[in-house]
């Protein structure tokens, strides 16, 4: 009986070790998101300077499965992600909507898109984080998958890569497209 006390630490540790092992198999980029499963928040952003479109508002997201990408010309990781977004655009895999977040210079965002290419169907200018706060954005880049009914289904943190697209985002988008509106 007394021996048991000396075995307890080992058992306790094995339990913790088991949890750590499970923890390793999960994706640390999956942060808590309160927005998943909820309708897209209401917002109405003006267009970028020099772009002749109509801006970007929550109503634009209610017809088909789409992706909302938060970026900024100041964000290095967005540069990393950008070529892959161009690839999505070129192959017409899914429409991407952009939120140009926290630009201090109104010209910087448009200049960035002119230089590296524009993968976005519509882009809204969000220097004051109006939409970003409503979406619960923690950093850039961040991407949201929205279904046909305009409900946010997934929040992806960090740059989208070939791998995360193939393994996570594309299967989800395919699944949402097959479903009857979400």
């Amino acid at each position: 009986m007394k021996r048991l006390i000396f075995i307890l630490p080992l058992l306790g540790f094995l339990l913790i070790g088991g949890y750590l092992a499970v923890g390793l198999t999960l994706d640390p980029q999956r942060l808590p998101s309160l927005i998943e499963g909820k309708p897209v928040p209401e917002f109405d952003l003006p267009p970028l300077a020099g772009r002749d479109d109509v801006g970007f508002s929550s109503d634009d997201l209610k017809s088909e499965v789409s992706m909302v990408n938060v970026f900024g010309s100041w964000c290095v990781a967005c540069r990393v992600e950008h070529p892959f977004l161009m690839k999505i655009k070129k192959n017409d895999w899914v429409p991407i909507y952009g939120i140009d977040w926290r630009e201090t210079d109104r010209e910087a965002g448009p200049a960035w898109l002119r230089r590296f290419g524009d993968p976005y169907t519509l882009v809204g200018d969000d220097p004051k984080s109006k939409a970003a706060i409503a979406f619960g954005v923690t950093g850039a880049p961040e991407t949201f998958i929205v279904d046909k009914a305009g409900i946010v289904r997934y929040k992806f943190v960090g740059p989208i890569t070939e791998q995360s697209w193939d393994e996570t985002l594309k299967p989800l988008i395919d699944q949402l497209r097959q479903g009857s509106g979400g």
């Binding site: 021996r3 075995i7 630490p9 080992l10 540790f13 949890y19 750590l20 923890g23 808590p32």
Partner: protein, 663 residues
């Protein structure tokens, strides 16, 4: 060429470590003296080889050798020299190399200074130390080689994360690692003792200095990290209960418990199995910290680049080291016999209380840190949650309050059997002053936070209580003052150490309380010439100008601070943009007063020429840093006590000259 030499030296060091983990262990079994001695030579050899390897990496950084991948990713030719050097350990691979370097330094120190150690114990401890080292060498060589080349060489580097380009953070990791890795020595001695099946006063006397050294460094490391967060992150805070901070705090808590339980083993020959358990635990927490930071199982503000492959490796290492040692413990610890009797009201009883509270505190921090992970594992990643400061504050304050109350009483109790009433009577002054300070606080702060009052009361209780203990030791006012002064000067250094460490903790508690309960924060947009008043100080914004640093651009703001029209100071907060990584950092402008810090931060500019500014008054913060320094000096003094220097832990103790021996 130099990089290859470094890589080669590291592989050689691993070979030596493999030999060191086998030969002395067998030597100890067969009582073969030359084989046991092999441990001394190999520990020295290992140290030399790792030092060469580390030097090679440092050479690559200092000379900006951009054919080495690690240098490309973490350095830049325009970076100041200090950060070229600190860049060596400002990344995953380099910091692991620093880890094994410190491990080797500790091993070599045992070989060099342990001439009085029983040869078999020393051989086994060095062998265990080498086994840990082998695991880490393998980890570095297989998954995190810092000497990897790139071809063609890069034109310039990608620069070190700007947040890490800071003098405080340049020395923070080495300090922290000296602490973490220092516990490996206590661990190795614990395993060696379990193998031998014997723990005695001599063993405790050998373990304690290593623990003291590790604890002192860890205290410094944690304080530096916290100081850095305070002035660099610009949130006015200093501790965020972030997983990485917790990872360093848990070994500190357990290390504190170990430090105290070693005294009981040494003086009273009891609590042996418990002390061995703490020694294993302290190092296990250090390893767990390493795992949490690098594996990516928990997200954190300052985690290293995460890589599941490394995570798997460290997890396996953790399972072998911790699981193995706890299995050995389960098997052997029941045979450790204690002879001392145990009365609850006694010095050892007070130390046990310290152990229980520290252990519980560490358990709570562990639970809070891993809880998100448990939820994650159970719910299949559906809801990630994080446990925030409210949880930690709610459980930590009730645990620390009785501990600090007991901390003033414990040193006044004699060994074996104490008289609580007598001890409490001695403390009447502390009690009166604690109540007085608490009441004064209550009046001044007009009843906002009950914790503020409690914090001030227990901090003053501990300060006066600790001073009372010193006064008792030198028999102040009971014998002529001259004699008291002589006694004061001749107090053993260990007793000085305890006094300073306990005072340090009291000051830290005061600082944490002040900053936690009464920080005043103002956020506003200010145009040049605007004035804002915070806690009686007028902050006038005198505008901002652009400055060019070596590898950054900065907006430097200027605040002139006055109080009732009298000039106090000028603050120069900066907002820096590091050109290579396009990352912005904040440098708060801080002016420290005894009563608190004046703290200014400059934010973004607006189109009308005004700036968003944040002004804080953080009361008593400086006492946290003074307290931490006092704890470090305390551990250093205790470490230099003559009973450790005189070495041979023999029965003819020198304490006859000093009837009031340490602690």
């Amino acid at each position: 060429m130099i990089a290859e030499l470094g890589h080669f030296a590291l592989v050689l060091a691993m070979m030596v470590a493999i030999a060191q983990s086998i030969v002395p262990m067998i030597g100890a079994y067969q009582n073969n003296i030359p084989w046991m001695r092999f441990g001394n030579h190999s520990a020295m050899g290992q140290f030399l080889l790792v030092a060469i390897s580390f030097g090679c990496l440092m050479h690559a950084y200092v000379t900006s050798d951009f054919s080495v991948l690690n240098v490309v990713q973490n350095s830049h030719s325009a970076k100041p020299m200090l950060y070229k050097i600190s860049g060596v350990w400002g990344n995953h691979e380099g910091s692991m190399l620093l880890w094994v370097l410190i491990l080797a330094i500790f091993g070599a120190a045992v070989a060099a200074f342990g001439q009085y150690l029983p040869p078999a114990l020393k051989a086994r401890a060095l062998s265990v130390q080498a086994m840990i080292a082998v695991g880490f060498y393998l980890f570095i060589i297989l998954t995190s080689n810092p000497f990897e080349r790139v071809f063609p060489p890069a034109v310039d580097g990608q620069d070190l994360n700007p947040l890490l380009q800071d003098p405080g953070l340049a020395i923070h990791p080495p300090m922290l690692y000296l602490g973490y890795v220092g516990f490996s020595m206590a661990f190795s001695f614990a395993i060696a003792a379990l193998i031998e099946g014997r723990v005695d006063a001599a063993w405790a006397r050998w373990v304690r200095p290593w623990t003291l050294a590790a604890w002192g460094f860890l205290t410094g490391g944690i304080a530096l990290g916290s100081w850095w967060a305070y002035y660099e992150l610009g949130w006015g805070g200093f501790w965020f209960w972030d997983p990485v901070e917790n990872a360093s705090f848990m070994p500190w808590l357990i290390g504190t418990a170990l430090l105290h339980s070693c005294i009981v083993v040494e003086k009273r020959d009891t609590m042996k199995a418990w002390t061995v358990f703490l020694a294993i635990l302290a190092f296990s927490f250090s390893l767990l910290g390493t795992f949490l930071v690098r594996s990516g199982v928990l997200t954190s503000v300052h985690a290293f680049a995460t890589d599941p492959e490394r995570g798997v490796f460290i997890l396996i290492l953790l399972l072998i080291v911790v699981g193995g040692s706890l299995a050995l413990y389960a098997w052997r610890a029941p045979q450790l016999r204690s002879t001392g009797l145990f009365q609850p009201i006694s010095r050892e009883g007070a130390l046990l209380l310290n152990n229980l509270l520290m252990g519980t505190a560490a358990g709570v921090v562990l639970l809070g840190t891993l809880y998100p992970l448990f939820i994650d594992a159970i719910s299949d990643g559906q809801d990630k949650i994080s446990v925030g400061p409210p949880f930690f504050n709610a459980v930590f304050i009730p645990l620390m309050t009785p501990m600090i109350v007991a901390m003033a009483i414990g040193p006044l109790l004699p060994w074996k059997r104490g008289d609580l009433g007598k001890a409490l009577k001695t403390l009447w002054l502390s009690f009166a002053l604690a109540i007085l300070c608490g009441l004064a606080t209550w009046t001044l702060q007009s009843g906002q936070s009950p914790w503020g009052i409690v914090g001030v009361a227990i901090a003053s209780w501990l300060i006066i209580g600790t001073l009372t203990e010193v006064a008792g030791r030198i028999r102040l006012f009971k014998i002529p003052v001259g004699d008291s002064v002589r006694r004061f000067i001749n107090l053993p250094r260990a007793s000085w150490g305890m006094t300073l460490a306990h005072l340090g903790l009291a000051m830290t508690v005061a600082g944490v309380t002040g900053a936690g309960a009464w920080t005043v924060e103002r956020v506003q947009s200010m145009a040049p010439g605007d004035t804002v008043q915070v806690s009686g100080y007028d902050f006038r914004f005198d505008g901002a100008e652009q400055k060019q640093g070596p590898n950054y651009l900065a907006t430097e703001g200027k605040f002139t601070v006055t109080k009732n029209g009298n000039f106090v100071t000028v603050l120069y907060p900066e907002k820096r943009t590091y050109t290579v990584r396009q990352m912005a950092t904040t440098e708060a402008g801080i002016h420290t007063l005894i009563s608190g810090d004046l703290y200014g931060v400059i934010g973004d500019s607006k189109s009308d020429g005004s700036y968003v500014t944040r002004i804080y008054f953080n009361p008593l913060v400086v006492w946290m840093w003074i307290g931490a320094i006092s704890m470090m000096i305390g551990s250093g003094l205790s470490l230099s006590d003559r009973r450790y220097r005189v070495g041979a832990p023999t029965r003819t103790s020198s304490s006859t000259q000093q009837p009031q021996a340490a602690e």
